[in-house]
């Protein structure tokens, strides 16, 4: 199992195959017991929320809470056989104090990738699990509340934005596991990117704002920096993307600056598939770079997005203001071992001679042996202009923290 710092996840499950045949699918309606509204501790690697998912009375792995997924897509191996392969269900699914009964699932054999807790990742928690509740995402304190939660201290006034839930129909499951009916689950909002309004899918499973390639390239015509990066998509796919920085993105006049956006061929295909599903153009995914400045409640029953802006944004870590390397880790008997996975061209790290596969022992004197992938990656981030001391087996190098995506 490898442990990599992930900045780019886009777990939008798009298995759309055809429109519903004139029927009006029932809303998400699961029987549940226990209580709702408790803030569940979550990991927020790659700016998406990972929470523990128990199945059939047993503790389970971490899975991503993804408003972009119409169903729960789980790795059957991560759940020790408790999740059936293909279209099926689990008797119970425990999310904190909430126990959901007879939850539809789709089981696949996923890649052996680690979740932020170091164990095999469980997959994606989608609409069929939480679509009947309000669900709150606290990007500052890294918690998720199924059933919704009141805003925490240190936030501004409530901003309510109505949304529509669209899409649905019939979907083809991964691994040729058949075709299933899908509820309408896509949260559609209007957003404006650098003055250009568009239709976006609200997606807590996206690490960035996704744009169509043509639009991103039109924005980049001003000469802004772009980098190539690999994004992990749903169902084990990866995609090469071009990443850049946006000056502004706003929803209903609520503006966020310096958000990271990505585009690529696979992203274009994804957006086209979503457009077919909902029956109108989709210009992008509204992901973490916008959402993380707020305490967010997605109120499915009321069809409303509630945003409370945090008074301070110190929790917002810009993944592209960093030392210009990525790390990949491997668990050994003596702890974690990290090596350089890639070096960003033109970065100070490259100028200082760092190369792929070089082992990094410590950062600023802190050993990486006990650091998980997220922690190791966070140690490379910081304020532009500061430096990090990277200890390599044969030398220690002071490398500058840079904005890898500066705006002109």
């Amino acid at each position: 199992m490898t442990f990599e710092s992930r900045r780019a996840l886009a777990f939008v499950v798009f298995a759309f195959l055809g429109a519903a045949c004139g029927d009006s699918p029932a809303p998400a309606n699961l029987l549940w017991v226990g209580s709702v509204g408790r803030a569940l501790p979550a990991s927020t690697e790659a700016n998406v929320f990972w929470i523990d998912v128990g199945v059939n009375g047993r503790p389970g792995p971490q899975a991503i809470v993804d408003t972009g997924a119409p169903y729960c897509l789980f790795d059957v191996d991560a759940f020790d056989g408790q999740v059936p392969k293909g279209s099926g269900r689990v008797a119970t699914m425990q999310l904190g104090d909430t126990v959901l009964w007879k939850v539809p699932t789709v089981g696949v054999h996923g890649e052996d990738r680690a979740a932020p807790n170091g164990k095999r990742q469980g997959g994606i928690l989608g609409f069929t699990a939480f679509g009947q509740f309000p669900i709150s995402f606290n990007y500052r304190d890294s918690t998720v509340a199924v059933g919704g939660a009141p805003p925490p201290a240190g936030v501004g006034p409530r901003i309510a934005i109505p949304f529509s839930i669209e899409g649905g129909g019939r979907g083809r499951l991964p691994d040729d596991a058949g075709i299933v009916p899908l509820d309408p689950s896509r949260i559609i909002v209007t957003a404006t990117v650098e003055g250009v309004p568009g239709t976006y899918l609200l997606d807590t499973g996206a690490s960035w704002v996704a744009l169509r390639t043509a639009f991103l390239q039109s924005l980049a015509a001003d000469g802004r920096k772009q980098v190539a990066d690999i994004a992990n998509l749903a169902e084990g796919e990866t995609a090469m993307t071009t990443v850049t920085r946006l000056r502004t993105i706003s929803v209903e006049g609520i503006e966020v600056t310096n958000a990271i956006a990505a585009a690529g061929l696979r992203v274009d295909e994804l957006l086209t598939s979503l457009a077919i599903e909902v029956g109108h153009p989709i210009d992008g995914l509204l992901g973490a770079p916008f959402l993380r400045e707020f305490f967010v409640t997605v109120d499915y029953p009321k069809r409303a997005l509630e945003l409370y802006r945090f008074d301070t944004q110190s929790h917002v870590k810009d993944a592209y203001r960093r030392v210009g390397i990525d790390l990949t880790g491997r668990a050994t008997d003596r702890g974690m071992t990290y090596v350089v996975r890639s070096v960003y061209p033109g970065s100070d790290a490259q100028a200082k001679g760092l190369k792929s596969n070089e082992r990094v022992l410590s950062i600023d004197g802190v050993s990486l042996a006990d650091a998980d992938a997220l922690t190791a990656d966070m140690m490379l981030l910081g304020q532009v202009g500061t430096t990090r001391a990277l200890e390599l087996p044969d030398r220690t190098v002071d490398v500058a923290v840079e904005d890898l995506l500066p705006l002109p």
């Binding site: 309606n29 549940w32 008797a91």
Partner: protein, 256 residues
Amino acid sequence: MVEAMTVLGLPVSRDRRAKCRWTCAVAGALVLAAPVVHAETATPSIGGPGAPPTEVAPESPARGVSVGLRVGYAFPIGSLATNDSLGSNFGGMLPLWLDAGYRVSEQVYLGGYFQYGFAFVSSEVCPTPLGCSASDLRFGVDAHWHFRSLVDPAKALGAFDPWVGLGAGYEIATTRLSLAGTTGHQTNSGFEFGNLQMGGDYLGLGPVRLGGFAALTLARYTQQSNSTPGGSLDSAIREPANHLWFMLGVRSQYDF
């Protein structure tokens, strides 16, 4: 003739007999080893012409009201909904089935039924730490056709009255969950398109019939209601499917 009968081994006087008809009927249903009943008058009808007179209870009038009780065991078949087998939800059921109706003739009975079933929730849908229980209500109308009169009495059917029945109605199955002091329940309901019944009654107990029965019900749940700690929500089952209950049991009927 002996002017007394016994109930559960105790003598009962004639004037109390009318008062205890209900007690007798229920007792007869629940205690299969019914006491011997002596007839007030001998009747040749069971033995038929030429047969030696037999001491049996007087038969009930051909017309009149009947009430009955059945108990048994029911086996689940089919699906609660598409891709959700009934057997994965319920391991089985103990039905308590009440009948009430009118004997139009010696052959035809028309009535209604109401069943409360104690259903056993399958462990497949009830892992720890959940607590689960379930019940199944059925109610409707049915008709029985008794064809003892068509059987040659000389062929030793004696006091045995075979019958077949058809019915239709509505079914409501409820599964209840509990966890940490909270409860919720799911109700699935829909029409019982039909039920096929057959059985045989022993007539030698005067107004009380005792016998066995088998029944096969065919129904489809189409509506679902989930009652959770956060409220209730009703919806149509998107992909309903047919299910059956196959029942075996005993029944008692009291004919007024």
